[in-house]
Symmetry: C2
Subunit: 396 residues, 2 copies
Amino acid sequence: MENALDENERKVTYAYFDHNATTAVDDAVLDAMLPYFQKEFGNPSSRHVHGRVARQAVNSAREQVADSVGVQPAQVVFTGGGSEANNLFIQGGAGYLKPTRVIVSAVEHPCVMRAAQELARNASRKWNLRRLTVDNLGRVNLADVGIAVTEQQPGLVSVMLANNETGVIQDVTAISEQARACGAWMHTDAVQAFGKIPVDFASLKVHAMTLSAHKIHGPKGAAALVIDKRLLLKPLIYGGGHEHGLRSGTENVPAIVGFGVACGLAKSRVAESAIRIAAMRARLEQGLVEMGAVIFGLGALRLPNTCYFALPGIEGDTLVVRLDKAGFAVASGAACSSVNPGQSHVLEAMGVDSALARCAVRVSLGGSNSPIQVENFLKALTSVTEELKRMNMVTL
Amino acid sequence: MENALDENERKVTYAYFDHNATTAVDDAVLDAMLPYFQKEFGNPSSRHVHGRVARQAVNSAREQVADSVGVQPAQVVFTGGGSEANNLFIQGGAGYLKPTRVIVSAVEHPCVMRAAQELARNASRKWNLRRLTVDNLGRVNLADVGIAVTEQQPGLVSVMLANNETGVIQDVTAISEQARACGAWMHTDAVQAFGKIPVDFASLKVHAMTLSAHKIHGPKGAAALVIDKRLLLKPLIYGGGHEHGLRSGTENVPAIVGFGVACGLAKSRVAESAIRIAAMRARLEQGLVEMGAVIFGLGALRLPNTCYFALPGIEGDTLVVRLDKAGFAVASGAACSSVNPGQSHVLEAMGVDSALARCAVRVSLGGSNSPIQVENFLKALTSVTEELKRMNMVTL
C-alpha cells in the first residue's frame, strides 16, 4: 500500500536531486548491456565462441574507459565497485611497500579513510596515518601537504578529486607534485568528479585513480582503478588471475560493457551538461540564499551540480523526509554512508559548527533535471520550511 | 567478419555444454532485474523513496537467497562474486584468528587455494598451509582430514562441496565434524554444487558457505558468503559499512535482485532438472566409453551435469577448438582459470598421468540442453577424432 502511494506520487511530480548518490542507467547503456545477459552470456575465460565474444566485449569496454581519461587500456583494472578500487589502492599499495606514512585528506570518502585507518591499526605492519587539513571552504591546505610529506617519509597519498558532499574540487595536480617529489604513490578518488568535469589522468600527475560506473549513468557493479603500470599492488581478491592478477573473479561482462558506454557518453556530454547544470545550480543557490541558507564550500571551485546547504535551525534529516513527501529526492549526508548515520566528517573538518552541520542538505543535479524542477523545489522548500516553523520544529 | 561467421554458425546448431563456466540469465531473472536499472535505480542507503524501494528489493533478495539454503536472511553477506566471497572467508577469518593452520583440499578452486597460499606467505602473520589429499576419483581422503586436524591446531578449513572440473562431490558434513571437533572454522565453496544438487547450510555443518549467481542462471556480479552469525571476519573492503560492515560499497541492486530470483528458481527446479540432466549425461558417457574415453571421477558421487573425460592421445585444447568450430562449447580446463592455462591441478592431485591430463575435456550440461544435442555431440566428436587421426594429430 505504501509503495502504491509512493508510485502515484512519483508519477506526477517526483524530481530526483540525488545524482551524487547514484544515477539511472542511460538508455544507450542498458541497450548495450542487454545482449550480454542472455545471447552473449559467455565467460571471457572460455576458449569457445561464447567466451571469445565476451572477451572482445570486455576489451572494447576497457578501451572506452581508458579513452575517457586519456590512458592505455592496459592501465584499467576493473573492479566490482568504487569502494573496492579505493581499497585496492590503499591496501594493495600498503601490501607491497614497507610501512611508512599514509596521507589522506580529512574529507575523503569512508572507503579511503577507513582503509587508511586500518593500515594504522595493523599491529605487525603499522603505518602512520596523517590527515590533511582543509580550509573552511573544504579545500585541502596545500601548505599542510608540504608539512605532511616532509615530517615523515610518505608511502601512499590519496586525495579525492571532488568531494561527494560539498562538490569541492581539490588541486590534485599540485598535491601530486608534492607527493611525487617525496617518492610517494599518489592516488585520487575521481568517482564524484568523473562525468561532471573533464578528468585527465596524465594532467593530474597521479599514479592511480578510481572511477565508478553508477555515478555516470552506468550500472552498479562496475568500476575501475586506473594505474600507472609501474605500480605494484597486492590484490584484495586472489584466484584465477584476472585483470593482470590484480582482481580475480569472472568479469561482470554486462556491467563492464555498460561502464564502457557510459564513459563514452560522459566524455561527449560533459562540457555541454556542465554548463546547463551549473545554470540550474546558480538559480537554486540564488533562491536558497534569499531564504537565508548557508551554502557550504561557496567560493571554492566546485562540481557544477552539487549544492550542499543548511537552513539554520531546520534539521537536515527532517527536510529530507518532508521534501521526499513533497516529491524531491535529496540527501542529508553522503548516501553511501548513511547506513552509518552520524555527523558529517566533511563539515566537521571544515570547522562548521555542529548545530549548523545537523541542518545540512545536499542537492545534486543531473542531466535529467530541468529549470522548472528547480523552481518547484524552491517553492516546496519554502512551504515545508513555513510549515515546520508553524509546528515549532525550528530550533532557532 | 569473423564474428559474422561465428554468428551464422551459432544460429544453426551451436550447443552450449559449458554450464560450469557460466550460464545464460533466465528470462524470469532478467525480467526481475530490469526495473532496477532505470525506474527503481536508487541507492539503498538513500532515505528518499528511490532509496527505500531499492533497500526493500535488496531485503527481498536476501530472503530468497537465505531461503534457498535454509538460513536466516541476516546470515547472507552479498559480495561482487564467488572469488570475493571465498577470499572473504579465508582472508577475513585469518584477519581475526591468531595464525595457526589453514587446511584446504588439493582440488580447491584457485580463489580458495591462492588465498590460502597467501596466508602461508605472510611473513609477519604466517599460517601453516596443509593440502588434503584426494583419492584417484578426486574424493578428499577422510583419513587425511583426521591427520591434518590433529598434527597441528587448525584455524580455518575449506573444502568445496563439488569440484568445478570433475563434478565430484565431497563429504563436507563428515569433514565439518572433524574440523569443528578441533575448534576450526569450516567453510565450503558451494558455487558449483548449488543449483545442481540440493544444498542445505545446516546439514553441511559448516560455519560459512559461498554461493554465486552466474552459475545458476543469475547475473554475473552477485554472490554471497553465507555465515554462522557468530563468525568474526575482517572485511576485504572497508568503507560505508554495508553488509553489517563486512563488505562496503553501494549494493549492486539489479544483480542482487536477479540473484534472489535465480535462487528461487534453482531451488524449485533442482530435483527435476537433476534427473533429466543425469539421463543425458549417462547417454553421453556411454557413448564416450564406447569411443575409448577415460572418465575422471567415474564411480565417485558427482554432480549430475558434469562429465570430465579424455580420449587418450588427443589434446584437450585441440578438441575444444575443433568442437567449437563444429558447434559445441566445451572446456579443456576450468574456464575461470584459463587466463592462466596450465595443467589441471585437480587431475594432478588425483594422480592422473600428465600425458592423459593434457587430453582432458569438460562437458557440463544445463537445463537448456537436449538429448538430441548429446547425440549430435557424440557424432561430431567421432568425426573430429577421425579427422585428427587422419591428420596424424593423435599422439598415441
